[in-house]
Amino acid sequence: MKITFRLWVLIICILLALLMISPSFTNGIIVKSIEKNSTAFQEGLRNGMIIKELNSKEINSYEDYTKSILDGVKVGDLTKYEIKTDQGDFIFLEQGAPKITVDNIPKTKIKTGLDLSGGARAIVRPIDVELTQTQLNDLVSVTDQRFNAFGISDVNIRSVSDLEGNKFMLVEVAGITPADLRELVSKQGKFEAKIGNKTIFIGGDRDISDVCRNDATCAGVTGCFPTQEGNGCNFQFVIYLSEEAADRHAEVTKDISLDETGQYLSEKLTLYIDDTEVDSLLISSSLRGQKTTQVSIQGSGSGSTSEDALKDAKESMNRLQTILITGSLPYKLEILKLDTISPSLGKEFSRSIILLGLTVFLIVSISIFVRYRKIKLTLAVILTMFSEAIITLGIAAFIRWNLDAPAIAGIIAGIGTGVNDQIVIIDESLSKSDNSNIKSRVKRALFIILGAFFTIVAAMLPLFWAGAGLFRGFALTTILGVTVGILITRPAFADIIRQVGE
């Protein structure tokens, strides 16, 4: 068989798609999130590390991990854990289980949606208020900050809108109970700065008249440095307090003693979001009893590389600024939709869908063979279906699309239209009663295929907007599938058929 240009295109696309999907065969389990004030974090354990051994037992699955946790050596109230990861070994003491969440290492880079991987999803909207896009972006940012403050990192929050221009916030979290999600969402993002138990100022324009943002002279990352666990970066930005808040500051600080260095006050200014401490700042001794309207807020970010640390610091600064500007949300949120899918059911579903995909492949192949009685031709159809599936999955992995059950139904349906097109090509090119030349037959087949392509794309388009885009995945994979078909696999298939025909 001659490998034509179109076949080369197909082969290269399949290879690229496989590279995107890149199956992984690493043993171990991956750290999904870690509490920032835990001993494990202090010892340097981080998100994304792969745990190979726990307490000298080899870890290959989530089940291994949960079993081995029980074997930790007790040291008084605490338990000693020895963890070997792909990036070094860690030994730490912790009360109870390590404050981390772990998961099996994903076998491929294909991301599955909540209905297949388990987790919770909420669609949220403020009660009785129409938000502008900027306000909605602030809400997303504040919510993100709050989830982070609660140590939930595997979260995806974004703004969505529907056909009528209604705006919603969509929150998707893996590994959270519906009660927790409900509570987190219903809280309003209250920011407080306290000295001792006295509140000095709260977020919002009553206490804070201005926050320096996007201005390098008064806001920015001040420096980066190596730390025990990797790298850290400090940030700093200035806020301007109202007269009233400044008075409170003076009143509260005037009786506080200096610390042993004499440079700072012995009590710190502590920042809380929804009553959880997020940071504490030293107060310079010169500010004692002073009516100060200008306060410098500091904080830090960390990461394994200096780039990561810089990025983390910038993100933390941005979130903190948002919360200081917006204060607690000036409206209540209502949960319009809340779905939680159990991970074990999701696993069962994933297994069934894979099985179904294989069955469909088999049935289509048999039916093609029964109809045409040609092995080579059947193989060509199988090859085409297979390549279409691989390339579509590859693109989905590349754009990091979460494939939910409807999206996978879309892939199967897309391949279905592919098979239809191939039947048209076969019938047009093998038709014996037809005396017209091959050129006009191919032209006709192309017209039918293009027609079918444009109608399915046109019919699926409205799904991108309807219902807050909940079925965007379904529309996307269908359109992706038929597009891959028309541009890549169909031309290659036509070449194969021509050679089989000869």
């Binding site: 019938d427 006709r444 109608t455 046109a458």
Partner: protein, 296 residues
């Protein structure tokens, strides 16, 4: 052989207009049925909690779903309980509870009946508020209309002649109407995924119509009847393969997400309706058109 073929041609020439009546009658029956249905229920579909508002619980494990339903019915009128079986072993692996009730109320009641707590390990909960579901339902219906209009425009653009285009569009419309009618007859509670499937059906069902129309209008070899028969051979095989591919989702692999199953159910009903509407409705109209235009 030659004689038989001529006989076949005569048969089709004589009967094709009558053949148009069959789908037309079914179409009218469907419309009437939908009219009655609409009057009785105030809507075109039975809707599940994703479109009507309410909660759906999926509880893992082998649970006696009938007694659960009986117990729940005492407190919640519109509750509906189904089970999911693993076809390989015949074991019940989960039950699905659907109701318009608030999730907290339903959860509490289920917990007290089953005697254990529902956690995110042993159960899944989907809740949609009534205002959102109403809003989404309306939008999905608008999406169907948009989708149909976009498809129609594409068909006009492709064929650029009035009657053949209208024939294709009417066939697609009849597909949708008949599918909705059958979905209602079967008592299916439509979910949001089901509506998404209707959009796909709009795009998918016109494949064979495009094939037929192209072969009849753009091909010059053979008679019109031969071309219709040729496209029938190709098209019916396309549809049958499509149906075969959809069937295992119902008969072989039963533990699929509901959204997935409903997409496949609606596609298969639609494909069945499409056999009728392509090869009776559309074929008859296009032959009528070809004959009257003197297309040979």
């Amino acid at each position: 052989m030659e004689n038989q073929e001529t006989k076949g041609k005569d048969w089709y020439n004589k009967w094709y207009k009558i053949m148009l009546l069959i789908p037309l009658i079914i179409f009218i029956i469907s419309l009437v049925y939908l009219g009655i249905f609409y009057k009785a229920h105030g809507d075109l579909f039975f809707k599940d909690s994703s479109l009507a508002g309410g909660s759906t619980f999926t509880i893992n494990g082998d649970i006696d779903y009938l007694s659960l339903e009986d117990s729940l019915k005492e407190k919640f009128e519109d509750v509906n309980v189904r089970e999911i079986k693993d076809l390989g072993t015949g074991e019940s692996i989960a039950v699905i509870v659907d109701s318009s009730a608030q999730p907290e109320d339903l959860e509490q009641e289920i917990e007290s009946i089953l005697g254990y707590e529902l956690t995110d390990e042993n159960s899944s909960i989907e809740f949609t508020g009534p205002s959102l579901s109403k809003n989404f339902y309306k939008q999905f219906l608008i999406a169907i209309i948009f989708s149909f209009i976009l498809m129609s425009l594409t068909i006009f653009f492709l064929f650029k002649t009035f009657i053949p285009s209208i024939a294709v569009i009417f066939a697609a419309f009849a597909d949708i109407i008949m599918t909705i009618a059958l979905v209602d007859v079967l008592g299916v509670k439509l979910s949001a995924a089901g509506i998404a499937a209707f959009l796909m059906l709009i795009g998918y069902s016109v494949d064979t119509d495009i094939l037929l129309t192209t072969r009849v209008l753009k091909k010059s070899e053979g008679s019109v009847n031969q071309r219709i028969y040729g496209s029938f051979k190709t098209g019916i095989f396309m549809t049958i393969t499509g149906l075969l591919a959809v069937l295992p989702a119902f008969f072989i692999i039963t533990t699929l997400p509901d959204s997935f199953r409903q997409i496949f159910l609606i596609l298969s009903i639609g494909l069945l309706a499409d056999i009728l509407n392509t090869w009776f409705t559309n074929a008859s109209i296009i032959k009528w058109y070809a004959d009257s235009k003197g297309i040979k």
